[in-house]
Symmetry: C2
Subunit: 318 residues, 2 copies
């Protein structure tokens, strides 16, 4: 494991990503004031920044395996992955804005603050989300031309990976299934069993969490087997993340969560605790995290933040 503490790595990554986002996101007059304000309102609302952390940790892990002692190489790999980390956070933020809309989950509180549509109205909130998605892809594509032709190829691969994860086969598809299961789409509500619930979460949150780690590995120049290992690690982490989210919704209180607790049960949403009970859900999450450990070990990525991040995920309280 690298020197310094996980807390320091998380904190420096958050600061780095937030500064880069603030510097990069276009401002008025290039962007109309209300659109700029609404995008920034949701983007700079705090949050764990889990996805960018995974992107930079995966890039860093690949560089450490290549040259354990060369701190400059580790930093260069994190730099190469920074646009991908920022773009993925832009997409995550857009998805939160749209998911919170009255036509979707109808949430009025997020990270302890009124949601975007409460502040700006539904129309501007929809547009803020649309704009964040477009901005993500602009950030991924608009890099100065790199002398190494392989870098352009990596950029295109990252764009395709992120678009697939965010699109109808991934996040958007998962949210549609969730909406149908909650009886908020037209037609009869879908009934999800354990496998279908896992499939829904695999699309809704899993796909982008997997893209976060694999794009970090891609930008650090990893071979296909290592990109696949980063993807598997993040798939297990994402599932554990979701199970723990469901557990916290039952056990947590609004003050710690920064959102309305017990909302899943009130909405009759399918959840892991509802299907398996709290004890079995906790055991399932722990099994996922154990598989994170073996994946990281087998890929030769143990000297990295990947395993500490997985332990932190299991222990989180919000």
């Amino acid at each position: 494991m690298p020197h310094a503490t996980l807390a320091a790595f998380l904190e420096s990554t958050r600061t780095r990503v937030e500064q880069a986002l603030d510097a990069w996101l276009p401002r008025p007059p290039r962007v109309p004031a209300l659109v700029s304000e609404s995008m920034r309102y949701s983007l700079f609302a705090g949050g764990k920044r889990l996805r960018p952390v995974l992107t930079l940790a995966a890039a860093d892990a690949v560089a450490r395996r290549g040259s354990a002692a060369d701190e400059r190489a580790h930093a260069a790999a994190r730099d190469a992955a920074l646009p991908a980390a920022c773009a993925i956070e832009l997409i995550h933020t857009y998805s939160l804005i749209h998911d919170d809309l009255p036509a979707m989950d109808n949430d009025t509180l997020r990270r302890g603050r009124p949601t975007a549509h409460v502040v700006y109205g539904d129309g501007i909130a929809i547009l803020a989300g649309d704009g964040l998605q477009a901005a993500a892809f602009e950030l991924l594509a608009r890099q100065p031309p790199h002398p190494d032709a392989a870098v352009s190829g990596r950029q295109l691969r990252v764009i395709a990976t992120v678009a697939d994860a965010a699109g109808p086969a991934g996040m958007v598809g998962g949210q549609a299934i969730d909406l149908q299961a909650a009886g908020r789409a037209m037609g009869r509500p879908l009934t999800l069993d354990g496998e279908a619930l896992r499939g829904m979460h695999g699309r809704k949150t899993g796909a982008m969490i997997r893209a976060s780690a694999s794009c970090g590995a891609i930008m650090a120049g990893a071979d296909d087997a290592t990109v696949a290992a980063a993807d598997r690690y993040a798939a297990e982490l994402g599932l554990a993340f979701q199970i723990i989210d469901d557990i916290l919704d039952v056990e947590g209180d609004a003050a710690t969560l920064g959102k309305t607790a017990g909302k899943d049960a009130a909405d009759a949403k399918p959840t892991y605790p509802a299907l398996f009970g709290l004890d079995r859900s906790r055991a399932l999450a722990a099994e996922c995290i154990e598989r994170c450990r073996t994946t990281v070990h087998e890929a030769g990525l143990s000297d990295s933040w990947l395993w500490p991040i997985a332990q932190w995920m299991l222990d989180r309280k919000s």
Copy 2:
């Protein structure tokens, strides 16, 4: 001007783009059935396919200037631009779905059919739009690696161009200003004078129409001056398009338009006829089209469909 007729070029381009979109867009079970159905409902609802026509016409024009007699080179340039043409139509379709939502323009009829949210509900309509935007960027990035490294550079430039045009500085920003002007955002309605109206349309429809032509030129390997000429041509065309749209809304009937006529006046929307009167609006549109002619001529692109398309735009009735 090339052989064959403009009508034949328009028809063959539409067929080509629709077949490519149908073949490329992922289907169930990769994509959940309801998301796939709702995306396709709006995508295959007819329409002029103006933007893909501009993309292929611009690529074709660049190839004709390079080798007037080499039909195979013209076809190869159109092929290279086909993914961009399809991606831009995906983005255009997403924007129509979101603009029609009750939280935005609240339209229930589009191209003679109920709008997406009337058929699928607001939540699924929002997701169909979100999914179409992501699919557009996936299509632009996911091409087989090309032996010529310059092609990767062109792809990245097209992605950045499309994302900028579709994003907060372009289409999304324009729709937000439109929403504010119509008094449908929070706060006092914006009042738009002639220049602000032009700025709003320049973002809302102009930016993507410009991207359509310039991305065609980019993919055909045009130099920067030619890409800029394609952009200027399309800027004039886009403005004429919008002025004529406003005129048709006053003069047209719902049967020809396929949408509710007179809706702008009923919504108290700022329009060219409202600001300048019908006669002056017609003259403004004709001046734009004349500037299309000189731009095409000066760039050496007269042997192309670009000028016939501009004439067709001026004469259109729907």
